[in-house]
């Protein structure tokens, strides 16, 4: 039985550039997913707690403050501690390409930079997110 994919769009870091996060959230909703958006300035603890509570399939992290190398590995640590390894974790925002390999090693499935089409993100989620619960 197919259920709607549940996505948590979250903004770690102190920056308030939520244009991208909101556009992606809306595009995923229009593509038939169930989307929860955390709002700004969430700590890694708050984000993982929300992912747990909301029982999501996908965690989409948007960060443009430059603190991604501190905050995203911390999110992944908490993801593992809470046994959420089957949640697909994606990142977007201003993340220099040279940082991507380290983020992938930390467990981020993929990083979507500026200029990414929302259709590509929808397609990626449809191909990679878990379906059955």
């Amino acid at each position: 039985m197919s259920m709607k994919t549940r996505v948590l769009v979250a903004k770690p870091g102190l920056d308030s550039h939520d244009r991208g996060a909101k556009v992606v959230a809306r595009a995923l909703r229009d593509a038939g997913m169930e989307v929860i958006y955390t709002g700004l300035r969430q700590t890694p603890e708050q984000i993982v707690e929300a992912a747990l509570q909301e029982d999501v399939d996908v965690l989409a992290l948007s960060i443009l403050s430059g603190a991604h190398m501190t905050l995203l590995p911390r999110v992944m640590e908490l993801v593992r501690e809470n046994n959420l390894e089957d949640v697909l974790v994606l990142a977007g925002g201003i993340i220099p390409e040279e940082d991507v390999p380290a983020l992938k090693r930390a467990g981020i499935a993929d990083v979507f930079g500026p200029g990414t089409s929302t259709e590509d993100i929808v397609k990626y989620i449809n191909e990679h997110a878990r379906r059955e619960k």
């Binding site: 870091g13 102190l14 920056d15 308030s16 550039h17 939520d18 244009r19 996060a21 909101k22 556009v23 959230a25 809306r26 595009a27 958006y37 709002g39 700004l40 300035r41 700590t43 403050s65 430059g66 603190a67 190398m69 501190t70 905050l71 201003i94 220099p96 390409e97 930079g113 500026p114 200029g115 089409s117 929302t118 259709e119």
Partner: protein
């Protein structure tokens, strides 16, 4: 501007031209699109003629530069007299590093400083706060106490530069530090020149760096306006900003309408406090974005001046010409820059900077081509500044005033921009003004809708972005990016620890308590905040007291 008989004849001839010449041409070569629209959704006509500006009254709608309604420019000679201020926003890392960048920029011919603070500072948090982890000195310079501020401006005489500070919630604290620093240097308060952004309303609408709820936020904005009016005559207490509204996704029209609505709200707040319009209005300044659609942008800048001048004179009864002036700082667009083929951004910035200068801006920041990837490198910043210098000295646009004035197209677009703004004013007023409209999420939804529409248009290729959805070539030239040295956080932590260990704790407590009492009495907070920074109370301590008194703002989530 033309006589009726001529207009009629032109209209008749235009119809004939459409029916004969154009139709025949279209049969052979159709146009690239059924319709062409500006970002604001205004249909661009194939051709503009005197018929499109038939109702324009030269003297009352355009006038002369330096005269009401200032459509053609603020000053009598505009850039023939003095070029715009080339002001590059900068700041990263420790105060020492930014101080070095400031001196470098001054040496390269820049004429004003502009400080970017890091996110903790912007949110009123000290560098050693747990939420500051990973953010210290990353997107701007970290300033937690007067000690950092002192290092930031070391060897820079404050009575000889003009300094713009992009700070909103904690603006009173950073301005207090600057004043205290000036006092320490022996600079007279009359000689302190610069700007605090201090525009909280656009934070609730778009930029979302909010600490306290709307009402106390506007009170603080007004405190600074009042304090500067009496004490810092050369300071611009507020820079009413459309830039962030636009970057968050609005159209050019929404940017202008919402910014002017904020301006009206601040004027009303200052009047309610008993200030006279001609006392404070001359120092209100504005900040807009410049995007790629050159003609629409020029129309926006021209309409902005005209609407503000009319509002100030006709609605608020201003008598001084300076109260009717809209002085504007312009920055080229960050969100129009692409991470794909980043060198293309050099050309985008050129077009945008041209729009700002054709629009009569008083100062300009040009973005660096690598900003969709990281903070700008020194090389990229130099090209950005050179872009302005080439426009200023080589393009010829600075040699006559308002060169696009009288263009049938630009005048028609300017009129349409004004009409659109008036329609938004009616909607905002019917909701009870700016704050009630913020509380209902009106602006937030308008902006989110426009951002989403833009994204869909790009994805459907209804809007072409070169290098992103057209002329896409894999380009592997990654420019050298700036990395902030990782030691900043540690340096800041140690400095704060030393500061807190070595100061007179009782004096700090007393100063913070004076702020509490001032909030209770609802008096102007600038005075006790100046005393507190002099007592080396930190930014976080002062903002902490205000949060304790005013409560924290909870964001309304709209997407």
């Amino acid at each position: 501007m033309f006589n009726r008989r001529k207009i009629d004849e032109i209209a008749r001839r235009e119809r004939a031209w459409e029916e004969e010449t154009v139709s025949a041409w279209l049969r052979r070569t159709p146009e690239r699109s059924d319709s062409f629209r500006t970002t604001s959704g205004v249909e661009m006509k194939r051709l503009y003629t005197p018929g499109d500006v038939a109702n324009l009254d030269y003297l009352s709608d355009l006038g002369f530069p330096g005269d009401h309604p200032f459509t053609r420019g603020l000053h009598a000679t505009m850039y023939r007299g003095r070029l715009w201020t080339m002001r590059q926003f900068s700041g990263y890392g420790t105060a020492e590093e930014t101080n070095r960048r400031f001196k470098y920029l001054l040496g390269e011919g820049e004429t004003g400083l502009s400080v970017a603070f890091d996110f903790p500072t912007i949110l009123g948090l000290d560098s050693d706060h747990p939420l500051s982890l990973g953010e210290v000195g990353v997107c701007g310079v970290a300033v937690s106490s007067i000690e950092d501020m002192d290092i930031l401006f070391r060897d820079i005489p404050l009575d000889r530069v003009s300094t713009s500070m992009t700070i909103n919630g904690p603006a009173a604290v950073l301005l207090a530090m600057y004043i205290a620093l000036g006092d320490g240097q022996g600079a007279s308060r009359e000689a302190l020149r610069g700007t605090t952004q201090n525009d909280m309303l656009k934070e609730f609408m778009a930029q979302k760096l909010c600490i306290w709820p709307p009402a106390p936020s506007v009170k603080l904005v007004t405190d600074i306006i009042e304090y500067c009016t009496g004490n810092l005559p050369s300071w611009n207490p507020v820079s009413i900003s459309g830039y962030h509204i636009r970057e968050a996704g609005s159209t050019a029209l929404q940017e202008l309408a919402f910014t002017l609505a904020d301006g009206i709200a601040y004027v009303e707040s200052a009047l309610e406090r008993g200030m006279k319009v001609d006392e404070f209005a001359p120092r209100l300044s504005f900040f807009f974005a410049a995007h790629n659609n050159l003609l629409e942008e020029v129309a926006k800048f021209r309409a902005a001046r005209r609407i503000w001048a009319r509002l100030m004179r006709d609605r608020f009864g201003a008598e001084s010409k300076r109260s009717m002036w809209m002085r504007m700082h312009v920055q080229t667009s960050g969100c129009a820059l692409t991470a794909h083929q980043p060198y293309n951004n050099l050309m985008r910035v050129t077009v945008q900077a041209l729009a700002a200068t054709l629009g009569g801006a008083q100062s300009l920041h040009t973005n660096s081509f690598d900003e969709a990837l990281a903070l700008p490198s020194e090389e990229a910043v130099r090209y950005a500044l050179r872009t302005q210098q080439i426009i200023a000295h080589e393009s010829g646009v600075a040699e006559t005033i308002d060169p696009l004035g009288g263009s049938y197209c630009v005048e028609a677009l300017t009129d349409e921009m004004e009409e659109g703004v008036m329609a938004y004013f009616d909607r905002i007023e019917s909701m009870g003004g700016v704050i009630p409209a913020i509380e209902r999420g009106f602006f937030q939804r308008e902006i989110a809708d426009s951002a989403y529409r833009h994204q869909r248009e790009v994805e459907r290729r209804e809007r072409i972005v070169v290098g992103v959805n057209e002329h896409v070539a894999e380009e592997r030239t990654i420019p050298r990016l700036l990395r902030v040295s990782p030691g900043v956080e540690e340096t800041q932590r140690v400095r704060l620890m030393r500061l807190k260990g070595g100061r007179d704790g009782r004096r700090v407590e007393g100063a913070l308590d004076a702020i509490r009492r001032c909030v209770e009495r609802d008096e102007n907070l600038m005075h006790p905040i100046i005393e507190a920074v002099k007592a080396t109370a930190t930014l976080g301590e002062i903002c902490g007291v205000l949060t304790e008194m005013y409560g924290e703002y909870r964001e309304l989530i709209v997407f």
